[in-house]
Amino acid sequence: MVIAAILAGGSGSRMGNSAMPKQFLPLGSKPILLHTLEKFLLHPEVERVLVLCPHAWISFTNDLLAEYLPRGMEVTVLAGGETRNNTLQNALDYVDAHFGGGEDHILLTHDAVRPFVSHRIISENIASAREHGACDTVIPATDTIVESADGTLISSIPERKMMFQGQTPQSFRANKLRSLMAQLQADEAAILTDACKIFTMRGEAVAMVRGETHNIKITYPYDLKVAQALLGLEQEPGDD
């Protein structure tokens, strides 16, 4: 089974003065989360769609789905965790409990705030996760990446042509992901911010899927303006 887990766990603390988590902000006629969900719900290979959101926002999310989701579409809303790893673990636990833990499911994980994900990116994630066990959606870095160990001085400048920027989806064979997560030490888990890193830390291959520059993550008010501009929407007065 191919399952998409839409990660809407962020509290939205970087989103200026908006009190609402950013995935719930409107973009055009509906909240950002709904745009993202539709991309997965309409993809013919995706069989189940889960949304993992902060516990306090579960009922709100369900209300939004009832209001905006077109007839005949189903989404399961689950509580996310404290960290991205915890959220991922909750998704895996749900998959085990409801779709069979022994089955070789493909799990696509995607940021709720990336509504511009394309059909091609989803298709290639599914194919790549099946073939390689794990994949990450990336675009070539256009800016030079600078590494600094102490935040003051540059410790190295990696060669740009070898640098890529990570997007989502990140997709996995669920069994493989589960087994690698179970091996994580507490100190490793504490610093892990990226699911694909769980694979690379253990020397497991992660394939790259070509992303798109437009597959932006709506994190800051600026990003929301970009998203509105991409859709040709009028900017709301006072959007700043």
């Binding site: 509504p115 511009f116 070509r210 991409l230």
Partner: protein, 344 residues
Amino acid sequence: MIDVIYRLTAPGRFEIAYEELPLCEDQVLLRPRWLSICKADQRYYQGNRSPEALKAKLPMALVHECAAEVVRDPTGRFARGALVAICPNLPVQTDEFIAENYLFSSRFRSSGADGFLQEYVLSAPDRLIPVPQNTSPEICAFLELISVAMHSISRFERFSHRRRERLAVWGDGSLGYITALLLRTLYPQARLTVLGTVEEKLSYFSFAEERLDVRRVRLVEKESLCDHAFECVGGAGCRNAINQMIEAVAPEGTLALLGVSENFVDINTRMVLEKGLRLFGSSRSGVADFARAAAVLEQNPILGQYLERLVSRVLPVRSIEDLHHAFLLDGQQSFGKTILRWEM
């Protein structure tokens, strides 16, 4: 949902645009799967339209020949995953006498409205035609072109007298091939002549009794070559073609004009008058023409073999670079259709 649209913004330049598609309960959501490039698309891509036309039409998503997969049909008429052809004509009214493709109020995808170079497409269910089960998706990609040929034949049947023993098609390109093939199928007793200028292309028309290179044959000597004729030449060549037809068609015959020309065309009206010829225009098609074309394909499985010869290449498209590659290759070929396996 957010749809990704690949629009031509200037000759040779595609750009990505986004639009929110409302998932309405009376519209079918489709995913274009198999597309086919038409000469009209190439005219935009290569900039062979007037500056005024380019300014008026662009930016616009090209391609109006498409077989698409049904993603969501709230009306319940089509199963999810079903392959359908989409009629690119978008009428907003009906008329007792004027067909949907001749109404000035109608819009047309890839000429005034976005074509099918999109991630998803919304369509009213009455614009969708189930593709024939016995026909490959590569051929279904250009069911629109087949329906254009079918439309001209349906009009010919309305306008022409019933002596249809000798039929002729001018034009050795894809539209000429399809029109001739349909005439062969619908009028098996008629003597079919195809006239062109490239011997190699004419050799593809193996189903016609006679294949004539107009540069080598003196048509005046062949007076009354046919009872009725179809012009599928267009462009700069259609002046010669139409005047040859006027000479070669028997009195009271019918001339169907299908080829698009950017210029005015001088024709021998004296002989049109003397012979009492009927010239009629035929452009694009409507849903009924799609349905008739699909039915003829379904009833005549051998057509699939003949139409397969028209498929010159099938190219997967996963990026804008792939799209340029497809248009450039298509622009270099003299015969056949370039099919896009759309994976964007």
